[in-house]
Symmetry: C2
């Protein structure tokens, strides 16, 4: 547990919370689907003797004796379910504490999700729980299932009972049924199902942190609408990444419509999705778009762990599947590497003469007569130096009722056996991939187990997308760990005062960021001399710590020739003295040569800036300026810190990156130098400390190795 978690939600308390041995259902009633389901689940799991019903009015509920209060049970209670109407929830929590409960799952709704009044109720609930030392799950939850511990403490029908290695966390309780159904269909085993509802106390971040230390859990799937306590979440995700446990998040709200929809039925503010995307990427959180992708990706990641190499080696008996996979991989960014000459030779020996030893590999119908071809091909592809994971694409029986004979003969136990043998010879992880989405049910699992195949994924799109994401996660995990390990930087001794452009230029220079040469002048005569010295038209801007929008006030002149410079100086100073400038302090004018256009040197303009996100802190943005940012919104974002390597990746990932490689006759940008400058901007922003609101260079002019900041802005938080 990281220091950030703090408060009541400690590692020890959470462990205890998820392993209760006795239960009270406060507000159990014959009309409540909640108490009926929770009771049935606990009884079925063998906890009937230690499950108590509490109802203030009725002595019998669900055909069992009920107690008027928790305290009246007369036995200690570990976990209390609060199912009473919202107005009675606080009393129920006090009652639970009186019976010695260490935790409560508040199933009642009517809290923060309903508006201001509800938020007040939730604050009261939280305050009471904190006072009494209780861990609170919810409110507005359905509870949880700890599958490994055999605790189905949840209002969920048919809870998972066979322990698996994927933990599922969901802000939505209602969708949990569909999620665990799909997990069962897809052959994804669950270690936990935890609903978090309004996250009044226990947040997704606390749970991720808890599950990183859970021996049964190898990957964590999260369905969320917003991120509460970003710092806790971020720290937990970093620990998960370091542990090689993938966090796979379905976070709704990419589109405006979804953001509005989410706002209408939860209290969650979804935030700027591009920031979320950037932050999740840095935290090693794998983002997905559907429940199916979430569970399949988590299931696959739990099986493979981080990949050593991104290359996917595909072995299939269907040429059609090879075509489809190649297209899907291209779209998803999965790498299907060319096979090494040694692999090609090895495969050529195994394949029929009309076969082609390539990736994706079609082993052809010859494998129908000769299943050994499967083993040899999977093993050969798995030994290729460019391959980090192998997938074998084949059918699987999908009807649990199918006759055994059918299963063994047509669906081909012998093929699965051969595939399993090949997989066991691989030094890299291997997955079985079905050609179409299908249930991986009993019949399929029996065939797989008998063949020694550890994990199967249903369908080409889900499989290819999952592997592309796992590969990207594996790669970023390595680089991010190194980068983030640099530790906190020490703020430099800069006063938190408004900066004039001259001050800001000095700051950049001190941070090693090149700026366009300029003359700071205090008279028309000095201005004319400076302009003449430039030998080209100049840009002139007022110097004032108080004027942010210089152009709006007429305090900027562009393309001024030497003979006009003196007059321009006077005009600019006069403009700075108008009432609209509000008595701004004026400190002369900055004279700098005009760049681009007139001097004939083709250049690319970038914007590089750092702004503060309310949830996630300073974010660095880099984009191609001019038409690219205006028309295409071609900007890459990342949280700080930013290493030169990451800066380079951001730059080359821009849609207009070809401009930096020197199309249109311009020189190629010196990418190493440019990446260094971008990283220096990030470092400077860190050094300026938490009071920095924005540091923006726009434009940063790049002409080959010539890089200069032409304009800079520094703003502090109000």
């Amino acid at each position: 547990m990281t220091a950030a978690a703090g408060g009541l939600v400690t590692a020890e308390r959470l462990r205890a919370f998820f392993e209760p041995r006795s239960f009270a259902l406060i507000g159990a009633s014959d009309r409540s689907a909640f108490s009926k389901l929770v009771l049935a689940n606990l009884v079925d799991a063998g906890h009937g003797d230690r499950t108590h019903l509490v109802n203030r009015r009725q002595a019998t509920v669900h055909g069992r004796p009920a107690h008027p209060t928790c305290a009246a049970i007369g036995e200690p209670v570990d976990l209390a379910f609060v199912m009473v109407p919202v107005a009675a929830a606080v009393d129920a929590v006090r009652d639970a504490a009186a019976a010695g409960a260490r935790g409560v799952a508040v199933l009642s709704s009517g809290f923060a999700e309903t508006g201001e009044e509800g938020r007040a109720r939730q604050r009261e609930l939280l305050a009471v729980a904190e006072e009494l030392g209780l861990v609170v799950l919810g409110p507005n939850v359905l509870g949880f299932v700890n599958v490994a511990a055999g605790v189905p403490a949840m209002a969920l029908s048919d809870p998972p009972a066979v322990p698996g290695n994927v933990a599922l966390i969901s802000q939505s309780g209602a969708s949990c049924g569909a999620m665990k159904d799909f997990a069962a269909l897809a052959g994804v085993g669950l270690s936990h199902v935890i609903t978090v509802g309004n996250e009044a106390m226990v947040t997704v971040g606390h749970l991720v942190d808890h599950l990183v230390d859970d021996g049964a859990t190898e990957a964590i799937a999260v369905f969320m609408e917003g991120v509460r306590e970003p710092a806790v979440f971020a720290a937990a995700c970093r620990r998960a990444a370091a542990a090689g446990k993938a966090v796979v998040a379905l976070k709704a709200g990419r589109s405006e419509l979804a953001a509005r929809a989410a706002a209408s039925h939860t209290g969650a503010l979804v935030g700027d999705d591009r920031v979320v995307e950037a932050v999740f990427g840095r935290l090693g959180v794998i983002r997905v778009d559907t429940i199916e992708e979430m569970l399949v990706t988590a299931g696959a990641a739990a099986h493979t762990g981080p990949l050593e190499r991104p290359g996917v080696g595909v072995v299939s008996i269907s040429g059609g599947a090879c075509d489809i996979i190649a297209d899907l991989a291209d779209a998803a960014g999965a790498v299907l590497p060319e096979l090494a000459p040694a692999t090609v030779r090895r495969l050529a020996e195994a394949l029929p003469p009309y076969g082609h030893a390539q990736n994706p590999l079609d082993i052809t119908g010859a494998a129908i007569m000769d299943p050994e071809l499967w083993r040899a091909s999977v093993a050969a592809v798995g030994a290729d130096p460019g391959v980090g994971v192998v997938v074998a694409v084949n059918s699987l029986p999908w009807r649990d009722g199918a006759p055994q004979e059918n299963r063994a003969s047509f669906y081909g136990q012998r093929y699965v056996d051969a595939i399993g043998k090949g997989m066991r010879e691989c030094k890299v992880p291997a997955l079985y991939l079905t050609q179409v989405t299908q249930p991986i049910g009993e019949a399929a699992r029996a065939v797989l187990e008998s063949g020694g195949v550890a994990h199967a994924v249903p369908g080409l799109r889900l499989g290819v997308d999952a592997l592309a994401r796992i590969a990207a996660w594996s790669a970023s995990r390595a680089s991010d760990t190194a980068e983030l390990g640099a530790g906190p930087t020490v703020p430099c001794a800069v006063e938190r005062v408004p900066f004039s452009e001259v001050d800001a230029r000095e700051l950049l220079v001190s941070a090693g960021i090149p700026v366009v040469p300029a003359w700071h002048v205090h008279s028309g005569e000095e201005a004319a001399r400076a302009a003449a010295g430039c030998g080209s038209p100049v840009a002139m801007k007022i110097v004032s710590p108080d004027i942010a929008h210089k152009s709006d006030l007429g305090c900027v002149r562009l393309g001024v020739t030497a003979d006009r410079a003196a007059a321009a100086f006077e005009e600019i100073m006069a403009a700075g003295r108008v009432p609209a400038a509000g008595g701004a302090r004026l400190d002369g004018v900055l004279v700098a040569p005009m760049r681009g256009g007139a001097d004939g040197q083709p250049a690319v303009e970038l914007l590089v800036g750092v702004t503060r996100d309310p949830d996630w802190g300073p974010m660095l943005a880099v984009g191609l300026g001019g038409v690219f940012v205006e028309v295409l919104d071609d900007v890459a974002l990342t949280p700080l810190p930013v290493s030169p390597a990451r800066a380079r990746a951001l730059l080359t990932g821009l849609r207009g990156a070809a401009l930096l490689r020197g199309v249109r006759g311009g020189p190629a940008a010196d990418l190493d130098r440019l990446a260094g400058v971008v990283a220096a901007v990030g470092r400077l922003a860190e050094e300026l400390g938490p009071d920095l609101e924005a540091l923006e260079i726009n434009p940063l002019r790049v002409a080959g190795a010539e890089i200069e900041a032409l304009d800079v802005l520094v703003a502090w938080r109000p």
Copy 2:
């Protein structure tokens, strides 16, 4: 049947081919999985008495008597399966004809898919079949299943037996098993499964044409690697679109890797994928990326038919599903319209006070107690004037073994009943959508049927993607039908000779395409006068029908001032006379004012061109010039003809379309006028007739309503 089909493949012959009553399996053998499967299927379907085995050496095969030849059967044979080794295939075809067969399905492989020798064998096979008047399916096929007619004439295990309304055509036989399995899982009923293999005679186009007239078929799913006989395919797809029967194609080869993969295991050349994309769009072919999308989209389209409006109205009991759908719709381009005030009022009466009457609509947990809320909401959304199709998102039982009691209570027959009622009140088509991908098996179908729900789709992504595609198809179908109905244009009387720039400019002017003013000069003196008349620097280019690449030879001068024009004239003419110009005919120089940059008028440059695709004929390309085409390859393609409305859609669909709306301080382009010019380029290309290789305007300069072709090229086919 369209005229293009021609030859032996007539509508009547195809109908007869797919309704055979007697069968011969030539080359049946105990070791052949093909003959074993085909025989078992025909026997199971009640055709055992009229199914005959033919084996030259063995008197008994599969425990049944076998005949040495077809002719020896002594009874007429409608359809013969050729399963003999490739070298004996032609003899087998002759034997089939001798027994009176009208068609053969050639399962043997070793033909065009294996190289030049195989192609020769295939030509021979085709020639013999044509001589004997036989329809040939294949070679390299598995046969077909005519589900409605009860003819499983295919080497496919467990062929579909319950007739549905989606016909499945596949170039790949091997993948058919996975396809029909997924169709069964997804509740997509099949009318036919037809494998086409190498398409020596019967092509996908012939089959689409046949199925347009098939009463059992409402939509057609096609898995293909390349398109054979594009003209037949195109005509058939147009008929399908006119009939409102969607053709849904999974055509592999979007990526280079897939194109290479396909080339290695089929004879199919995949062609330029961007052309395929453009052509399919115009033909009303819905393109998909996976087998799942293909079948689900075809199943949904067979149910909905063309939509009257693109708007999708979503009703769900899960807020989480609403969020996911909103994001998926945004990504897929599905329209979730805002609800009309009347709908909002109607819903507000039905919903609980904390509900929000919006689209996607979360009807909240209140529907658990009050299923009527489902009916009222589905009906209200279905009556909204912006909604063209309604989806109700809910769970469905997914385990066929689930106890009946469970099914009725937890999974909620009463909810499905209420949804079904609401759907029957809708005037627009309605679909049931499960929250996660799951089998729509027996249990689910029983619940749906009992509730009167006609069609269900498994999973949000598949459902949303399918509806987005069906909506786009519905819209394009309407516009394309009108546009294509214009009929062929009459070629204009232009001689097929090399064009000089002067000739090409005249051609544009005659077609109503504006060109930059220019002076055609024949002396230095005239050049100087022209340049002076322009009042700005000029561009000077040689006029010659024989010099295509003028710049390479130094026959172009840009930015020439009036005082330099005479000298430039001499230099250009001298450059045209060098030996490298190959004695080109010279006809003076064209002098035109320079545009852009210097005159300060901000303008956008486009390229507009028509080139001939070997498969699909003339294709019009329009793109933003300069950095956009170089860096982003931002070009839209479409086959001719191009109406102004379509031209406008192409322009506004460009990624950099914001430039045309006048970002960067420039004026907004006159889109109507621009679309008219683009359409005129297409019309001119049509009029120039089939010998035109390329007609290219680059750049077309657009400054507000001012539109001018600055440079033009006309090239004829060699």
